[in-house]
């Protein structure tokens, strides 16, 4: 699993898909910040003025991180930014669902007017619910795979991860002991 996700082709595909999704998702919000601010406000996670700040800044972070993923620059950091956003989105959606707030249009991708109840996309896809959470968990898994956080299966595929972690653990232990106890190989 880890080896598969770390493969260059898989990484390229994940990078382009995730980057394109976030760039696409940012455009509508950038075009109409006030409409997006209303949606953020409806989530009732932050108050009116912070909602405006989120509405103004968030889409540009999405756009920038998505564009970096597509061109392949700073890809780990860009993927980590997207992973952070997704964690926030999932937590916010959980909060909205737990409080029973009805958000007709989650404002995640499109801000198309809520006015006419159209057949597509259906309400369960547009609103804040399990579909949204599941989608974001899948996207989060893709983002983490790009960052380099891999599921550890059976220890056999634990490549650099565990080994370097143990190593850094030893090192930090040594440095706590003071400079005089530095292992000879670190000089």
């Amino acid at each position: 699993m880890s080896a598969l996700l770390a493969g260059p082709r898989v990484q390229l595909v994940l990078r382009l898909l995730l980057g394109a999704f976030f760039v696409y998702a940012s455009l509508d919000k950038i075009a109409s910040p006030a409409a997006f601010a209303k949606v953020v406000y409806q989530w009732q996670v932050v108050g009116p003025a912070p909602s405006n700040f989120v509405a103004v800044t968030l889409p540009w972070v999405e756009l920038l991180a998505g564009a970096l993923l597509i061109v392949g620059a700073w890809r780990r950091e860009a993927a980590l930014v997207i992973a952070l956003l997704l964690v926030v989105f999932i937590a916010a959606a959980g909060s909205v669902m737990a409080r029973g707030i009805d958000v007709e249009n989650c404002g995640c991708v499109s801000l198309a007017a809520n006015a006419a109840p159209s057949a597509w996309p259906p309400a369960w896809m547009k609103g804040v619910g399990w579909f949204l959470v599941t989608r974001n968990v899948v996207l989060l898994a893709a983002a983490l795979a790009l960052v380099g956080v891999m599921p550890l299966s059976h220890g056999t595929q634990a490549t650099g991860g565990v080994a370097s972690r143990i190593h850094s653990g030893e090192r930090s232990g040594a440095s706590e002991g003071g400079a005089t106890q530095r292992p000879p190989d670190e000089k």
Binding site: Q42, A49, P59, A65, E77
Partner: protein, 157 residues
Amino acid sequence: MLLFLDMAVDWKRFILILVAGASLGLAWNAGSGRGMALGQSVLVQAGDELVAVRAGKVLLDQGALFLDARPRDFWRMSRIPGALPLPEEDFERAFQEAEPRLRRASAVVVYCSGYGCEASHLVARKLRERGFAAAILDEGLPAWQDAGLPLDEEPRP
């Protein structure tokens, strides 16, 4: 946490993406012409008059007319005492019902379900177009309830 410390991530770049993105957003908001005032609720427009719930209670005690801009079914379940239904989606019909009371009212306050609810703002503007000054209850019914102010919960047909 160890997992995170272990990642080959340049944290300066990580922070830079966040800061640069936020800065671009603020610059776009300031310079693009599509921007908005950041300091106040996006629902508030020029001419809107807001009234806080405590001041709203004083107005209620003085005999102000309260109007419920939520869908009528919500009004049927519970309402601020004495409030008439004036749902935004059924404005014309409900307005005709409420008009005689509006003409007699000393003051008018419109409310809806708070937070991102825009209905009270829209109804107040429609009333203003028809020559009736109406204040908007800031943060709506949730703030009213949070302040421990009375609610009429007798079901209406």
